[in-house]
Symmetry: C2
Subunit: 156 residues, 2 copies
């Protein structure tokens, strides 16, 4: 992915690499990050970040132009976050992305902001539901890791 | 711990076994469970459970009478949950526990309720802060697992 990638990390390419870099970017800014979060509308956000102040960012990773062009429904994420970013790698043709949302340029080791999108505050009820969703999703994943022989699902 | 413990699980004794059984108990009731949660007052709850409706339970595991008697500060947990339980194993002298909080009797495979404590609702602000704490604590643990080479701490 980058010329300083250690040889011992074989799977750091494409979307996985971008997502890791974005998580590091938000983490360094003090946000907690959770990957692959199911939303009430049936969509699955690539990454959701939660700030100390309870702000919620959703980041949609696009591994290339085809990946972006095949997703006509990214607007469905906007109602579940205060800020929305696309995250792409340095080879992505940035002019093809919407210019009115956030854009991060990432590799496996971090990210840099190319565009800052608007901050549209969630309603208190929606924010409360999203933070609880993050808590239950993350706790349930840890439970499965800690006790893999047990029932894997109880719904959110 | 119990006569049906598989031989392949060597560390299921004492507090760890009780905590696993309690997590299974709450999980089966639809709650999400997180172990070892730091609270704003500096205490560390053995297990915090979060229901679909946003209710918060704190469970304090006591591996034996000495463990209980050495903890004069368990009352510090009450202000951070709607319901509080002690969890002990079947050998614990139950009469030595307070009779006005919840008590679960657990082994590594589950738990049964011996006493139901009062439900004292958290204030909305305290509940919001606790759910956010659970979300950030759990997400951060998953982040460390997914990206162990990265900075391990950014605070809650």
């Amino acid at each position: 992915m980058t010329d300083h990638a250690p040889f011992s990390e074989p799977d750091l390419s494409g979307a996985a690499a971008i997502a890791r870099g974005v998580a590091r970017y938000y983490w360094q800014a003090g946000w907690s990050c959770l990957r692959e979060v199911s939303l009430p509308n049936g969509r699955r956000a690539d990454l959701v970040a939660l700030s100390r102040r309870g702000e919620i960012a959703i980041v949609e990773v696009k591994s290339g132009l085809a990946d972006f062009q095949s997703d006509a429904k990214w607007g469905d994420y906007l109602e579940f976050c205060d800020v929305f970013d696309f995250a792409v790698d340095a080879a992505f043709p940035l002019g093809r992305l919407p210019q009115d949302v956030g854009v991060l340029i990432a590799d496996a080791y971090g990210a840099a902001r190319h565009l800052t999108g608007p901050r549209v505050a969630l309603s208190p009820a929606r924010r409360k539901a999203m933070v609880q969703r993050l808590a239950r999703t993350a706790a349930d994943r840890l439970m499965v890791l800690a006790d893999p022989d047990f029932v894997p699902e109880h719904g959110l």
